[in-house]
């Protein structure tokens, strides 16, 4: 399968990538990583890039790395639909202080707009 995985600044996002890499190694998926640039205070884009490289190296997976910025949700859907991807993978569900699952605005946009299957990693 051709997988487009969106990675932002959150820890959940990087965990989602690690799981996707593991799965790609087992299943022989072809992976493209889209780094979501959202001016997050958590991590700079450079830091995300180096974390992504580390995750890809750990699974010895070769993946194209690209960037989405202006409207990340919309760009992810456009890329997936126009370039023949089989699936979009995102980290889906941070939790509130209470422990309630919340869906971020990017995941929400992708879920509601993508004609390509979407996997949310928890």
């Amino acid at each position: 399968m051709r997988i487009l995985v969106g990675v932002g600044a959150s820890d959940g996002s990087l965990r989602a990538l690690e799981q996707t890499v593991e799965r790609a190694v087992e299943a022989g998926d072809e992976l493209t990583v889209a780094i979501i640039e959202d001016d997050s205070p958590d991590r700079s884009t450079d830091e995300i890039e180096s974390r992504v490289e580390a995750a890809l190296d750990s699974g010895t997976v070769d993946a194209e790395v690209r960037h989405v910025d202006d409207e990340p949700g919309s760009e992810l859907v456009t890329i997936a639909e126009s370039e023949g991807f089989d699936r979009i993978v995102l980290s889906g569900g941070t939790t509130s202080p209470m422990g309630k699952i919340k869906i971020g605005s990017i995941a929400e946009f992708v879920l509601l707009n993508s004609h390509v299957s979407v996997t949310l990693i928890r």
Binding site: T95, S96, M98, I103, G104
Partner: protein
């Protein structure tokens, strides 16, 4: 993800804090008390959540298996969290909690199915907000599924205002203190 949450400018209240005793609409004597952090109360609350109907879960809480329920309760029944419980004798009928979120508090409330629509939820909410105000809490928010009109109606009646309606879950907020009584 953090952002500036909007709260109403005006203070709602005052709310009466626990203990609160009343007879519910089904004729049961209910007492609302602040959680005393005893093992006995903890077990009664855990039993309530073991019994909880999964169809009434909200955004993944309460969790559905006992191990996860206990992990979740360890977090919210201790430390800086504020908890009130509605008791029918030794049986926990409802539970409401305030969990710190920087300077604000996130609220959640659960009433066991057999005790719903008996006026317990309203009193439990007011009791928790009274307990919160006594403890120095000023701003409280919660999320609710937008289709859950009974819950939205309850929150509005108490004084919550919609603060964000643009995502899956609707966010509502209330101000119960204005910082005027910092010395207390």
């Amino acid at each position: 993800m953090s952002y500036d949450r909007r709260f109403p400018d005006t203070v709602t209240g005052p709310f009466e804090g626990p203990p609160i005793r009343f007879t519910d609409k089904a004729g049961r004597e209910i007492e609302i008390r602040a959680h005393d952090e005893s093992e006995r109360e903890y077990e009664a609350i855990a039993s309530m959540y073991d019994e909880f109907d999964p169809a009434d879960r909200a955004q993944g809480i309460p969790p559905s298996d006992e191990r996860r329920i206990r992990e979740w309760l360890e977090n919210i029944l201790s430390g800086e969290c504020l908890n009130v419980v509605a008791w029918d004798g030794d049986r926990a009928a409802g539970h409401a909690t305030l969990v710190p979120d920087n300077d604000d508090y996130e609220l959640a409330i659960f009433v066991l199915q057999a005790y719903q629509e008996a006026g317990i939820g309203t009193r439990l909410m007011k009791g928790l907000l009274g307990y919160g105000a006594e403890s120095g809490v000023e701003t409280v928010w919660l999320t609710v599924e937008r289709w859950n009109q009974p819950a939205v109606g309850l929150y509005k009646k108490i004084g919550f205002e919609i603060s964000d309606s643009e995502s899956f879950e609707m966010e509502m907020a209330i101000r119960i203190g204005d910082g005027a009584d910092e010395s207390g």
